[in-house]
Amino acid sequence: MGFLKGRLNFRRYRVVDPLPDDFRDRFEQAFTEHAFREKSVISRGEETMGWVRADNLLETDFSNRDRWLYTHYVMAGMRIDKKTLPMPLVRAMVEQRVAVWCEENGRARAPASVRSDIRTNIENDLLARTLPTVKVVHFCWNLPEGWVLFENTSEGMNDRFRTLVRNSFGVALEAFSPLEFLTETPELVDPLAAAGMTVMGGGAR
């Protein structure tokens, strides 16, 4: 379960917008509306994304607040499912069926439209039999202090996370800046932010 054991990776965020007084109700509603839902049909490369509870990636019932609100922390997971196909296998199957079509129709080459239909049928058939890759990344949100830890540092995952948070909770997240360390020494912020690059090693920086 996210954040509760093992080594941690995270990017830290500051929550830009203030929380409304009725945030508990709103969060429950937001989690429910944007909960992960499996699609019956998912096309190649398409992602399905939504919230799951931190205790189990199959749990999307957020009606029990004890399962996502821990005193002043909100913890849940962003689940992303994606189906991919083994493309060498797809290509081989397409060539095989195109060859059969040519033989059956007495043609040397299959028209592009036929080849495209064959490929689509093969992909749909394989996608229906393929399990998705499933990824869950947890986050932990300190409500009174307005910061969030997201358990992944890749740009793509973080882009998806910020978008899902904004769409779900209506708040924007700003990635942590080390200048936030200087709230107790505000006189250092402007000079540091304006500091130019220093050449320390062998090359221009």
Binding site: N9, P178, L179, R205
Partner: protein
């Protein structure tokens, strides 16, 4: 809050590496002595690229000639694995990027009792304690970086250290 310029993080990493080597792994932060050292991983990149150009791992990475050689060749520090001790706590973690992303964070041994909520509270408190110490170290860097001593003393000292004169 304005964004921190990306080069400040690499300068922070360089300063921290140098300061810990100069101070025998001890820094006084907000009046408290902490033990901090560069652990078993450093990654370097060219200033114009994001991808790592050199990754050093293994024991005594901070003192490896290859680390200073990377800097001498114009590379800058992209990631730094740090070991940090104070009071009875010890953390290991890698800092990377302009926003100080944290990877591979190993927390001190913590009580494993109670329910999920208890464990979450204890672990988040430990993370916040680490963040507070990192903040204090960064403030120390910021004070040095914005002072006259940066150009007059610190940078020449770092440069001499990188070529082996200090």
């Amino acid at each position: 809050m304005m964004d921190s310029l990306p080069h400040l993080s690499t300068e922070f990493f360089t300063w921290l590496w140098w300061a810990t080597e100069q101070g025998g792994g001890r820094l006084t932060v907000d009046g408290e002595e902490i033990v901090v050292w560069v652990d078993d991983r450093m990654a370097f990149r060219l200033p114009s690229e994001d991808a790592s150009r050199a990754v050093l791992t293994g024991a005594d990475t901070a003192r490896a000639a290859e680390a200073k050689a990377a800097m001498a060749a114009g590379k800058i520090i992209k990631e730094l694995r740090i070991r940090l001790q104070w009071a009875d706590r010890e953390y290991g973690f890698t800092l990377k990027g302009s926003g100080l992303d944290v990877t591979g964070l190993v927390l001190p041994a913590l009580p494993d009792e109670g329910d999920e909520q208890d464990r979450l509270m204890v672990r988040m408190e430990a993370i916040e304690a680490l963040w507070a110490v990192l903040g204090a170290i960064y403030r120390q860097f910021a004070a040095v970086r914005t002072g006259a001593s940066w150009a007059e003393e610190v940078v020449p000292s770092i440069q001499a250290w990188l070529v082996g004169d200090a």
